[in-house]
């Protein structure tokens, strides 16, 4: 009920403010009964066929809700009957009207609302008929004439008031996304688009990876031997410059880094180091390293001046350790 009251209020506002600018309906009204008041232009109805009792004078107006009607969207055809209830007027009884018909428009329901307003002893009665339609196609159409039959309560004969045919323009169907939900073609299109998007993404990801892989600098693997030989070359600069303590410091550094990288031998005291080098390579190389370290200490901490042969021997010892190959393993011999 509350819903209906709310709808009525909306319709009332619509009548007053948003009513479609429609041509005035041509009403076929019965001749007024003796003593009945005739209302203004085309808005009064009276019983034409032997009406009984003192019928009030009816005003009739019609409108559409909403104003713009689109195909496949419901709309209402509203007809309002209004009359002033005088003291000598009888109580009216209405016959259910037939729903006006129109081409391309399907009637889906009808209802009515009544409302009485009392103002300074003047009682106004409003009766609004609401016909619900579903436009099946667009274009111009006309809602058929609406006839309303009424009589005084307890009498036999009906009076009749009619609303003339009402022209309606139905606009083409509006696009609604929700309509696509059930559309099979749309679903196929959507799935195809989605698949295409996924395929495109995969293509770009893979091609991006390929590009990155192509751009990635190639890591050059430097072996401990190569690294040590490079360092050995740079240590030779000190020999040329006659900076022998620095030269031996360089040789020791080369040896220390190489032994750690290649054999995981940590530099922990001369005697132990010599023993471990001898074990990792051959004892002869261990002895050569021992001689190198003794000379290195003499040069660094006793101010000894190495002769050329000693320098050559030291360089050779380091180079031999670096270039040592375990022939037994490499050759796969007995």
């Amino acid at each position: 009920m509350a819903k209906k009251v709310f709808l009525f209020a909306i319709l009332a506002i619509a009548f007053s403010t948003r009513a479609q600018n429609l041509p005035p309906p041509e009403l076929h009204l019965p001749a007024p009964l003796p003593g009945a008041t005739t209302s203004a232009q085309g808005s009064t109805a009276s019983a034409p066929q032997a009406p009984v009792g003192n019928l009030p004078s009816l005003k009739l107006s019609a409108s559409l809700e909403p104003l713009k009607i689109y195909q496949a969207e419901f709309f209402y055809y509203l007809i309002q009957l209004t009359w002033q209830k005088q003291k000598d007027n009888c109580e009216l009884e209405f016959k259910l009207p037939e729903v006006p018909k129109a081409e391309g428009v399907k009637a889906t329901g009808s209802e009515f609302e009544s409302d009485n307003t009392l103002k300074a002893e003047n009682e106004t009665v409003k009766r609004v008929y609401m016909f619900r339609y579903y436009p099946e196609k667009s274009g111009k159409s006309t809602l058929g004439q609406a006839d309303f039959e009424y009589r005084c309560l307890g009498t036999q004969a009906y009076a009749k008031a009619s609303a003339p045919p009402f022209p309606v323009e139905i606009l083409p169907k509006r696009f609604k996304f929700s309509d696509l939900k059930g559309n099979r073609n749309f679903q196929i299109f959507l799935a195809a688009t989605l698949l295409a998007a996924i395929a495109t993404s995969i293509y770009f990801i893979l091609s991006g990876r390929k590009k990155r892989a192509a751009q990635k600098p190639v890591e050059v693997v430097i072996t401990p031997e190569q690294k040590a030989l490079e360092l050995l070359k740079s240590a030779d600069q000190f020999r040329i410059a006659g900076r022998y303590p620095d030269y031996f410091l360089g040789l020791e550094r080369v040896l220390r880094l190489f032994l750690e990288d290649k054999y995981s031998i940590r530099w922990s005291g001369r005697e132990r180091l010599v023993e471990e080098v001898g074990r990792a390579t051959i004892p002869e190389l261990g002895q050569a390293v021992d001689q190198l370290l003794i000379l290195s200490d003499r040069v660094k901490f006793a101010g000894a001046e190495p002769v050329s042969a000693e320098l050559d021997r030291s360089h050779e010892a380091v180079r031999r350790v670096i270039e040592f190959k375990n022939l037994q393993i490499a050759g796969g011999g007995k």
């Binding site: 005291g269 001369r270 200490d297 003499r298 660094k300 901490f301 006793a302 101010g303 000894a304």
Partner: protein, 328 residues
């Protein structure tokens, strides 16, 4: 011939007794090479040694064998709670015939003294011994008597029995040049010990050098060349024990109460030279310093309560310092 070559030649010639001596001691003592070398370092540098180890590790036998090999006078003093200073340094005895007091020299008048379980005697006895160690002379009554060179005190401490002991004050521990930890022998060494000690043959060492030769070797130690880089390395090590944060040793923050004293620098210098001598070298290398540093520093670095709570010992601290300080 350059000065360096002369020193090298001299050291090579004069250090020949080292191998002979160690070999002779080795006839009786199995293993314990490190302890024997440290005792020799002490003999060469006039530095006293504190030996710490559980009973039965041949501390006394090693020292006795050294005495036999060097042909010097040996005395062993067993420290007990009722020992008196006079029992060590001597006293005045009244002579009835002459009616005068004559000095009676104590057992300290020897070349090698073994102060066994030094922490079992009260402080007054410890002080008497430590004073004699420092001054190298003893006063009995009105007379002052010089102690005969070589004079070396080897004190022992037992680290496991602490009840009823008088721990040496830090200032007195500092007077020992080296604190040597005596460890258990290896398995094969112990097997050899077992066979030697259960046999019928009585093992003994014969004198291979004289005390004069030893004193002569001391003169040579002072000539051994130590490069300024090595001196700086020693200083870096000692200073790192005092201000570890300055050397980026953040792990040692709050663990050291007191760093090593200047005696540490002096003894590290001397002991490194002696170590080089043992290796027949006329110059010191960083390896000499690294090798001897734990024995010189371990009783000179005092750890905090935090370190004790975390069961950190001074050897752990020294190890960290030696790993951090850059070798020249």
């Amino acid at each position: 011939m350059s000065e360096m070559e002369r020193i090298q030649e001299l050291v090579e010639k004069e250090s020949q007794f080292v191998d002979k001596l160690l070999s002779e001691v080795g006839k009786v003592i199995v293993g314990q090479r490190r302890m024997m070398e440290r005792i020799l370092v002490g003999l060469l540098c006039k530095g006293h040694i504190l030996l710490e180890g559980v009973p039965g590790l041949a501390k006394t036998l090693t020292i006795k064998t050294f005495c036999d090999s060097i042909n010097v006078k040996f005395q062993r003093i067993q420290f007990t709670p009722d020992l008196l200073p006079a029992d060590i340094i001597g006293t005045l005895i009244f002579d009835q015939r002459t009616g005068s007091f004559n000095p009676k020299k104590g057992p300290i008048f020897a070349n090698l003294i073994l102060a066994d379980e030094i922490n079992r005697a009260p402080a007054k006895v410890q002080s008497a011994l430590l004073e004699a160690m420092q001054e190298r002379q003893v006063t009995i009554g009105e007379g002052t008597y010089k102690l005969e060179e070589p004079f070396l005190v080897l004190a022992t401490q037992n680290p496991i029995e602490q009840e009823g002991t008088y721990p040496l004050p830090e200032a007195q521990v500092d007077r020992f040049m080296l604190k040597v930890l005596v460890s258990y022998p290896k398995k094969d060494e112990e097997k050899e010990i077992m066979e030697r000690m259960t046999g019928t043959e009585t093992l003994s060492a014969k004198p291979v050098i004289s005390s004069e030769e030893l004193l002569h070797a001391r003169q040579i130690i002072s000539q051994i060349y130590i490069d300024p880089k090595i001196k700086d390395y020693i200083l870096e090590i000692v200073f790192a024990s005092r201000t570890p944060l300055e050397y980026n040793l953040k792990g040692l923050e709050g663990l050291i109460s007191w760093g090593a004293s200047p005696r540490a620098s002096i003894y590290l210098n001397l002991a490194s030279r002696a170590h080089a001598f043992l290796r027949h070298r006329g110059y010191v290398t960083p390896e000499d310093v690294k090798s001897i540093a734990p024995d010189v520093l371990r009783h000179r670095i005092l750890l905090s309560y935090e370190a004790e709570a975390e069961e950190i010992v001074s050897d752990d601290v020294i190890k960290q310092i030696l790993e951090k300080i850059e070798v020249p």
